[in-house]
Structures are given as C-alpha cells and as structure tokens.
Symmetry: C2
Subunit: 251 residues, 2 copies
C-alpha cells in the first residue's frame, strides 16, 4: 500500500481525492487544506486537517494547489520525509524546496468542480529526480490512471504548452464564436453541436486531415468577405490563423 | 408528403440523404450525382440519376455540392419548378439562378463521410425569399431536425463566421498542439482526453466562464517563458490570442 497525503482543496485536489480514495493499493491517509472551504466537494471519510504540523507520515505528498503558491508552500513543509510532488504543468520541479525529495504528477486534463470524470482515462505525466522515486511515483500513477508517461522537465513544458493550445486557446475560439453570435441575435446553442463534433472527430482523426474551412481550401472570396466583417482582436485572430493555416498546408 | 430531390454526392449530401429517407413526411424521390462515385455512401434504395434532364418533379430540390459550384450548377437546372435551396453557410442565396425560387438550408455541423451522426440534433438555419417558401422549407426542416431557426442573409453570414471560429480555428489549435507534440517526442494521444473534455464542458458552460490558462490569469512569468520557446506562426498565434484573452477579461 502506498501511503499518500493530499494537500489542497481545489478542482485538481478534489478529483485526485476521489481517484486516490478508490485505488486498491493506495491508502489516502489525510487531506490538508488552509480552511474547511470546499470540504463539501470531498469525501467526508478522508481525515482532514488545517494544521501543517499535524501531517501524517506518508510515502508521497501531493501538493495540488495554485501554481503561484507551490514554491512558498513547499518551504512550509520542508520537514517532510516522503516524496513531495506538485501537479502543475508549468511550474518547474525545482520550485519545490531543496530540502525535499521532489517530483511532479501532472494530470493532462481540465477539471471542473462537481463534474464527474473517469480518472482512469486522465493521462499523467510523471517527473522525478531519480529512479527510486520514479518507481514509487509510477506505482502510484498506475494505480489511479491507465495512461502514465515519463517526461523530463523540457517535455513537460512542451506538453503544457501544447495543452494551452488544445484547451485554453480552443476555448477562446468557442468564446469568440459566442461573442459573434451574441452580437447578431443568434443563440450560441446553435454552435454547441458542431463544437462537440469537432472534438469527437479528433478522437480518431489526425487534425491535419480534419482541417476544413475557407483558409484550408484557400477560398479568398470568403476570406476577404469575412475579414471585412470583423474588426479589432477578432480581425487579427482571423487574419493570423488564416495565414497560418494556408502556410501549414503549403508544406 | 414533401417531395424532395437531392443533388450531390459529398458528405453533406450523404448525411442529408439518410435523414430525408427516414423522415416520416418526406418522399425522397431521387438523387442526382455527376457520376456514380461515392454511391456506396448512399442507400441503394434511393433512385439515382446522372442526367439533369431526368430530374423528377419535386417540391424542394436540395443542392448539396461544393460552394464554388453552386452558382454555375443552378444555371444548369433553371428549368426546375420547385423551391431550389443550397446548403452552404457562406454562399449568398442570390448565387442561385434568378429564374428559380430560391432558399438556403444550412446545416450548422461538420460532417465526415461514413461517421454516423444524429441528424435530429443538427441545427438547420433556413432562409427563403418569401413566406410561402419559408413555410414549405420549415416543414421540411422540422421533419429532419429538432433545431430549426430562421435567419436572414446577414445572420447566416455571421453564423458561418462564428462556425469558422468554433470548428475550423479550434481544429487548428488541435493541429498546432499536435505539431508541438510531434516536435518533442510526445504522443498526441496524451492530449485527446483534454480536447474532448474542453468541448464537453462547453455543452453546459458559458465559454466565458470556462476560460482558464496563463493568459486568463495574466500569468506573465509563464507567458514570457512560453513565448520564448515558440517561433514563427506558432509564436504569433500565441501572442495574438494571449493578448486578446487578457483584453477580453479586462472588460
């Protein structure tokens, strides 16, 4: 049994808590939070503390808190003996205090509070300082997910960067589409099915094949007309993406 | 019963054919194609012709062909007496020859050959020249879809423009993410779950609320680092989208 203490009260922590609590060879000893806020999102059967000096002895401590707080927080637990990992895609492993055994367990997924999700399908990117710690973290990772990969710091940075495009920037495309709808008395509901289908297509299609639209077929008549109808940031986004798509397919 | 003749052999035509053939109050009399190519994607029970002078007399003719071909093709069927509609989001209704009764039935969805899809959930944006034709097209639209809206030419243009963002540009975000993965020995499979979850979240969340990431939280440390690691089109896309997101949330 791997003894785990979870530190955090946010979305990632709540999904991790469920996954850890139901894993066969994991003993989720305790969860720490600064306050009891958000406790309703957690199984009340998990022992909870707001006191850092009351942390149990564990094999792995998982810091699932805001990116900006990881470095400072790790200093406040520098007495811990187990492996201490954070869950961020963008924060360097080195942000964890040097007195600690360090690692990263980065779940490549977007989590929403209260929205269930099969954690077994969440890819986990693991990073540690040495082989022994990797074996421990790998054992923990594979107990909660079916998709575990080992990355180095540079690869994790690139993975996070690609997730910014796949998740954050695609969401902004949806938001821009909604803004256009809102400006022209069109319900955004009309676009929801095409958004879902676009993503579902990518589950078994290379996005290079799936690409369609005026830029892909270099339809300058439509492109000119659509550019003329836009202004400000939307126009610049349209121009930059259209040029990039045209260039990408000239390869 | 509304008598319909379908003209076309592509993705949209094949999905329309299935929907029309199974609609209770629609009689799909015939399908026209330039050749027998793609006939395997269509129900062999639908009478098929390659001869424009053999077209049956129908209430509605649906031209489901390439955008660029609509105008020219409509001239070759200017003898038809029924309502003639095209299915394009971006082509003006006026592209249909003036000797014909004109309309548009624009399915706001992305179709893949051979990939089943519940047509009842595909939003249809309808446009006609007059009320009588609208009533006819509305009756046809509601027999194959549960989501039918009336639009004018200007709204349809905006709807198509918003679909370019929601579908084409979001797919390009997925492609860019894959390119980054490919460049760094990371499997794109790692990103597929977050792509699906991003879209599924939007099914019941406003994208304005769903937006996350370095730009949303104005995390200049991560933004600077990610910008430095990019070059060319990817860098420009990152810069333009990050600035747009920052500005959008300053409102």
């Amino acid at each position: 049994m791997i003894k785990v203490v979870l530190l955090g009260s946010g979305n990632v922590a709540s999904h991790l808590a469920n996954a850890l609590a139901s894993a066969a060879n994991v003993d989720l000893l305790q969860r720490y939070g600064r306050s009891e806020r958000n406790n309703s999102f957690f199984d009340s059967g998990i022992p909870f503390t707001t006191h850092l000096n009351a942390l149990q002895k564990a094999d792995v401590y998982i810091i699932a808190i805001n990116d900006d707080s990881i470095e400072g927080f790790s200093k406040s637990v520098e007495h811990l003996k187990g492996l201490v990992v954070h869950t961020s895609g963008s924060v360097p492993m080195a942000a964890i205090d040097n007195k600690l055994r360090k690692g990263v367990l980065y779940p490549v997924q977007t989590f929403s509070k209260g929205k269930a999700l099969d954690f077994k399908l969440v890819p986990l990117a693991l990073e540690t300082e040495n082989e022994d710690d990797y074996r421990l973290l790998y054992e923990l990772g594979t107990s909660i997910s079916d998709v575990v990969i080992r990355v180095n710091s540079s690869q994790r940075e690139k993975l996070h960067l690609s997730a910014v495009f796949a998740n954050n920037f695609s969401n902004y495309m949806f938001l821009t589409a909604k803004d256009i709808c809102d400006d022209h008395d069109l319900s955004f509901d009309i676009l929801r099915p095409i958004i879902l289908e676009t993503a579902q297509k990518i589950m078994n299609t290379d996005p290079l094949i799936a690409q369609t639209g005026p830029a892909r077929r270099n339809d300058s008549k439509v492109i000119e007309k659509q550019l003329l109808s836009l202004e400000g940031e939307k126009k610049e986004i349209y121009r930059v993406l259209t040029n990039a798509i045209k260039k990408r397919y000239q390869r």
